[in-house]
């Protein structure tokens, strides 16, 4: 083995040499059009899409270096806005509050969801108005206008919505498909209506890891929230099109100013321990969340912000007063897990450990907590005194299985019914789709993949560059490479989730590499050294010089001068890779010498 | 008592992968045709530089290493043809004392266990008391007194000289007739070497032992032995009565060896002429054809390119050299 060590050293040297050579090619004034694209290493879709994008952009002269990073590395860089571009999935839920979080300039703080540092005062104004009105129609119109402006600016490029690919064991029937799939915290219908043709009365749902925290006030991940959606009732539920339907509340009214919501509760509703559920419990739940500044649950952040006071005129009426109107206030209060006052008034720390569940896990939902074997499974039983339609299954077991492959095998054996999260690996999806032993269900998932730019960093400070990239990307090819596990979208508000909240007429960027090249040349990019990668050279990019593009439709530039790269944060001194390369080289040589001397 | 005939011990040499593919196999010829006899009660010193094959010869005679070919006749039987049971019987009669007393004793056994083990294996005594007495006697024989002080101790607690005494006691406990002493004092301090050698001589007289005394030190050989056999690169160069060989060496190699023996008297040492030999001992893998000493021999002639035979040139004196004729 030692004999080959010099060989390895030589190999390492060979790998270093390109690093030493590259920075010498272009002069510093003529900056190459290149950037680093971060993708999430464990997400196959993110990585593959990133690679396809890099290929596509290379064709129009943009050099993309894809780095696949772990979230522990990637997220902090995004939080600190220390990146060029990134491509991964963001999440949405039944109310498009993300539209504010992603595009309002106030959300561009460290860790804020406006990760692209998008600032447009006009958009800010529209969003402020949209999110402070109780008038849903007015809010929709403001949404449309904001989305049109955003699509013109392209702070990021929406790519596709992932498909939720679910497999069910043979014999199971009658699940409900809706956005985020048949098994999701927003889907209260599947566990009630699903049944097994062969008379099996136990449904087993696979989780990839533990369901904790079991407290509905601390539940902050999809596993915990799904468990809570089974054990705890909410005032409203969602139909397959995500429209609110009566649940604990049989009806509701919203005042004209949008500042008061009145819920009329169902009568004769019981907690799992037999005590009656009243408006007192609902009021207690809202107040508890506000007082304790609870971090779990689905819309609690908005609830804490909006709640002014709760009134309980009688046992079955709850009147909620808001501090300010909010177009999604019904969802915020309606889709909150209601907890029993007689148990929770004793609970000081809302994030209690799972070992407390036998005592604390009392809800009013269709299933009640039976037991939790740490790390193994969570057993629920049908609550026979539930107010609604009796579920067809008698038991619901949440089983923890780490591996997707093992899960599929157990579904084929009939030991497991289905799983909580849709499959992520394209290879496995391909295998599952053609497996005759499985029933495959595909729905729109809640993960939207996007290509984000750091709008504060050159070259993304230039709008034409962002637009050119939008034209240069062929989303059809990306989705095809991903075995069709995504649904292409050009919208920033998704029609598939939010219906007419989405603007049907946003500017679309159809795949057009010629147009992309033209836009880049207008922005001052031209291939100076003939290596296929464009450089920023505004003088040479003037239409008077012979242009390499065939299209003669280019108009003389009347655009305002684009910002020069001198304002960017990139160091203009010696390239850091050169310095690093030389240091590594020296270290390797020293190590080799030391090693040889030792021998 | 012991006759060694044309003993050969060849070890397969490590060859390169490529050579083994081509079917080339090579051997280290550690012992390559050694013949000699030892008479009852005699001490034969086997002398040679390191790598000459003298230790291998000693071990091969006792079948601690399996010889490649040859014969070893001990009291009328060929040792090399003994079966397991007969071999066990043979080991009662022929024993060995190793060079390094630091390594030859099992570090995890007490002195008593080390010395008593041969008794146990051969079921010499029926009772523990008899065995104890025998061990005590053996330790007294090698002057480890009082024996009780040593029995419960471990080898690492003893000095080198004490350990070698234990090794001797262990070797002698079954009352063997023949002992191979493989450089028994070379690892010891000079001050105790003589003590051990004297002890061995005393024991030889007491029990009527026969020794094959292996050493690289001619002075030691002269001090202890009746006859000397000189080995070089796996072959015997010269055999003869000790005094004659030392005072009148016949083989050029013996002459070189003797000229390098340190002499205590500085005057005498100055007056003597050392014979220098060029080059280094060749590897036992790539042996030169002809006389093994030929490439380095200061008296080499053309005829030396042929292999010489061990011939009795004078009564009792055998030499393997073309230049020495009776």
């Amino acid at each position: 083995m030692n004999k080959y060590k010099p060989l390895f050293i030589l190999l390492a040297l060979l790998l270093i040499i390109p690093y030493l050579a590259t920075p010498l090619k272009a002069s510093p004034e003529e900056k190459e059009l290149k950037f680093e694209l971060m993708v999430l290493s464990w997400d196959g879709l993110s990585v593959t899409a990133g690679e396809v994008i890099a290929e596509q952009l290379k064709k129009v002269g943009i050099k993309v270096e894809v780095s696949a990073l772990d979230d522990a590395v990637m997220y902090p860089r995004i939080d600190k806005r220390d990146y060029d571009a990134e491509e991964m999935a963001y999440g949405v839920d039944p109310i498009p509050t993300y539209f504010y979080d992603r595009f309002h300039s106030s959300q561009d703080f460290e860790g804020g969801n406006n990760a692209w540092s998008y600032h447009n005062p006009e958009v800010d104004k529209l969003l402020d108005q949209a999110f402070s009105t109780g008038d849903v129609n007015k809010a929709k119109e403001l949404f449309h206008r904001a989305e049109a402006l955003i699509a013109e600016d392209v702070p990021y490029i929406p790519l596709f919505l992932a498909k939720d690919v679910h497999a069910f064991a043979k014999g199971w029937k009658n699940w409900t498909v809706m956005p985020a799939g048949p098994i999701s915290p927003y889907n209260k219908l599947t566990p009630i209506y699903i049944y097994n043709e062969d008379g099996k009365d136990t449904m087993v749902i696979r989780y990839p890891s533990a369901p904790e925290p079991l407290s509905p006030m601390a539940a902050d991940n999809g596993r915990a929230l799904y468990y809570c959606s089974l054990v705890y009732d909410t005032l409203i539920a969602y139909d397959p099109h995500l429209k609110p339907i009566p649940w604990l509340a049989k009806s509701w009214e919203i005042s004209d100013d949008g500042k008061t919501i009145t819920f009329h509760l169902r009568e004769g509703v019981k907690w799992h321990d037999g005590k009656p559920l009243t408006s007192e419990d609902v009021a207690f739940t809202f107040n508890y969340i506000k007082e304790k500044k609870v971090t779990g649950g689905i819309y609690t952040v908005h609830l804490i912000r909006l709640l002014d006071s709760v009134e309980t005129p009688d046992e079955h009426t709850v009147v909620v007063h808001l501090k300010s109107p909010f177009p999604f206030a019904l969802h915020v209060f309606g889709y909150t897990f209601i907890v029993p006052k007689h148990i929770w008034e004793k609970i000081d720390e809302y994030d209690w450990p799972a070992s407390k569940a036998p005592e604390y896990a009392v809800g009013s939902g269709p299933f009640k907590f039976v037991k939790y074997v740490e790390g193994e499974y969570l057993e629920l039983a049908r609550f026979d005194d539930w107010w609604g339609k009796k579920p067809n299954i008698k038991r619901l077991i949440i089983k923890i299985i780490k591996e997707d492959e093992s899960t599929i095998l157990q579904i084929k054996k009939g030991e497991v019914t289905t799983f909580r999260y849709g499959l992520m690996s394209p290879g496995l999806i391909k295998a599952v789709r053609k497996d005759p032993d499985l029933q495959v269900v595909e729905a729109i998932d809640q993960w939207d993949y996007l290509l984000a730019f750091n709008n504060k960093r050159w070259p993304f400070t230039i709008k034409e560059v962002r637009q050119a990239i939008a034209y240069a990307i062929d989303k059809k090819e990306i989705v095809k490479k991903l075995l069709d596990v995504g649904i292409i979208t050009d919208n920033y508000v998704f029609e598939q989730w939010y219906g007419d909240w989405a603007n049907p007429n946003v500017p679309k960027y159809e795949y057009n590499p010629e147009k992309a090249k033209e836009l880049l040349r207008k922005a001052g990019f031209v291939d100076v050294d003939g290596d296929g990668i464009l450089e920023y050279a505004p003088e040479k990019a003037k239409p008077t010089t012979p242009s390499p593009t065939k299209t003669q439709t280019v108009q003389p530039t009347t655009q305002k001068p684009t910002p020069t790269p001198t304002t960017t944060e990139k160091p203009s001194g010696p390239d850091m890779t050169l310095v690093a390369g030389v240091i590594i080289l020296i270290i390797i040589v020293l190590a080799a010498l030391w090693y040889l001397k030792k021998r | 008592m012991l006759e060694v005939k044309d003993l050969r011990v060849w070890f397969p040499a490590r060859t390169s992968f490529w050579q083994s593919l081509k079917g080339v196999s090579r051997y280290v010829k550690a012992v390559d045709g050694v013949s000699f006899t030892i008479k009852r009660g005699e001490v034969l010193a086997l002398v040679g530089e390191s790598g000459s094959g003298k230790t291998t010869t000693g071990k091969a005679i006792l079948r601690l290493i399996e010889p490649t070919s040859g014969e070893v006749w001990f009291e009328g039987v060929n040792v090399l043809s003994l079966n397991k049971k007969e071999l066990k019987e043979f080991r009662r009669k022929a024993q060995i004392i190793f060079q390094d007393p630091f390594e030859s004793l099992d570090p995890r056994m007490t002195i008593y266990d080390i010395v008593a083990e041969p008794l146990k294996v051969n079921k010499v005594y029926g009772s523990a008391d008899e065995e104890y007495d025998a061990v005590a006697k053996a330790l007294e024989d090698v002057r480890l007194v009082p024996p009780e002080d040593f029995m419960t101790r471990f080898p690492h607690e003893l000095s080198g000289g004490q350990r070698q005494r234990v090794a001797i006691a262990r070797a002698l406990i079954l009352r063997p007739k023949f002992i191979v002493a493989d450089e028994p004092v070379s690892m010891l301090d000079a001050s105790i070497r003589t003590q051990i050698l004297e002890l061995m001589e005393d024991l030889r007289k007491e029990y009527g032992l026969t020794y094959l005394f292996i050493t690289h030190d001619l002075a030691q050989a002269r001090y202890t032995s009746d006859r000397i056999a000189v080995m070089y690169l796996g072959r015997i160069m010269e055999i003869g009565p000790t005094e004659e060989v030392v005072s009148n060496p016949l083989h050029p190699y013996t002459k070189v060896l003797i000229s390098h023996v340190p002499i205590p008297d500085p005057k005498l040492a100055k007056s003597r002429k050392k014979i220098d030999v060029p080059g280094e001992t060749p590897s036992p893998i790539d042996l030169p054809p002809g006389c093994r000493f030929y490439p380095r021999c200061p008296f080499a002639r053309e005829v030396c390119k042929e292999e010489p035979q061990l011939i009795e040139v004078e009564p009792g004196r055998w030499v393997s050299c073309h230049l020495v004729r009776s």
Binding site: D220, P353 | L64, S104
Partner: protein, 326 residues
């Protein structure tokens, strides 16, 4: 230096090391950049007052020095803080209980079985070195040692779990079963343990085999092995009484190192079989950046390694008479 003093010194140095690890363990996780509340609740929308409350809940609102003192005080009271991923659950509760027991039983039995099989095979192979059986065993060991356990586990699941339906595919017990007796539970548990255990035993055997074989081959070259042969001992006596006893010494330190596995688990195997042990916990805690749990596991591991090494040192001193206390 006496034995007692030696033990006392080793104990003291172990304690000092442990304290240094405790200190290091605290600061390593505090050096990490970023706001820890962002790893507790990765919701960018959290209001500033919510973040403040979270910090308070996890004791992150105090100055670093206060946190350190509190950490030490709590440590001696057996309190390792609250887990991030299992929000509000004490770290001790997460680590001890089922998870530690699962890892202990799986790793303990796998190592024990692999040790026995590996060492037996190693002994046989060393004795018959160069034979076909030896070469076959070496190839088997190298192959099983280098096969990724993850892949091997998957293969076992597919063949024995799915097609043949002999073993369960995942977990430590059957879901949703009420056991009537403890034995029913134990039988179910052991049935689930077959898969991961076979995987681990196969991957551990090679290592123990090669180690034992090499250790024995080293012993075989020692002179006291020749002494043992010269004594006329039987093959079995030589092998088990002399060779094994000495070859086992290096195995003691190996076993001490393997104690770490009892606490670190085997991440790959535990993951494939969803065997909820400490290996899987470490993996998930790294992914979810659950620093308090990692900190807790490291403390347990450090404690285990130090204890095991201390015990190994003492055992070594007891069984090997050569150890000099120093």
């Amino acid at each position: 230096m006496g034995f007692k003093e030696y033990v006392a010194r080793r104990l003291l140095s172990s304690l000092v090391t442990f304290f240094l690890i405790i200190v290091l363990n605290f600061f390593i996780f505090r050096i990490m950049p970023g706001d820890p509340t962002r790893t507790i609740a990765r919701d960018a929308r959290l209001l500033p007052e919510q973040r403040e409350l979270l910090k308070k809940r996890f004791g992150l609102d105090r100055p670093l020095w206060d946190q350190f003192i509190l950490y030490l005080v709590n440590l001696f009271r057996g309190d390792l803080g609250l887990s991030f991923q299992y929000r509000g659950t004490p770290v001790v509760e997460v680590i001890l209980g089922r998870r530690m027991l699962n890892t202990f039983l799986l790793m303990g039995s796998s190592i024990a079985v692999a040790l026995v099989i590996g060492m037996t095979l190693g002994t046989i192979a060393a004795w018959k070195r160069g034979s076909k059986a030896d070469i076959a065993a070496i190839i088997f060991s190298l192959v099983t040692y280098s096969i990724p356990t993850f892949w091997m586990g998957m293969l076992l699941i597919l063949v024995f779990g799915y097609y043949l339906d002999w073993i369960p595919i995942s977990g430590t017990i059957t879901t949703g079963v009420e056991y009537q007796t403890f034995w029913e539970y134990a039988a179910d548990y052991l049935h689930h343990m077959v898969g991961p255990m076979v995987t681990l035993v196969i991957s551990f055997i090679g290592y123990h085999f090669l180690l034992m074989r090499n250790s024995l081959l080293d012993v075989f070259t020692e002179d006291y092995m020749l002494t043992a042969i010269a004594k006329g001992l039987s093959t079995r006596t030589i092998l088990f009484k002399h060779a094994m006893r000495n070859a086992l010494l290096p195995m003691i330190s190996v076993m001490a190192l393997e104690v770490v596995y009892l606490f670190s688990g085997a991440t790959a195997t535990e993951t494939v079989f969803t065997w909820q042990g400490l290996g899987l916990l470490i993996y998930e805690s790294v992914v979810k950046q659950d620093y308090p749990v990692l900190q807790g596991i490291f403390i347990f591991m450090a404690l285990a390694v130090l204890t095991a090494n201390f015990v190994a040192d003492v055992v070594y001193a007891l069984v090997d008479p050569r150890i000099r206390y120093g």
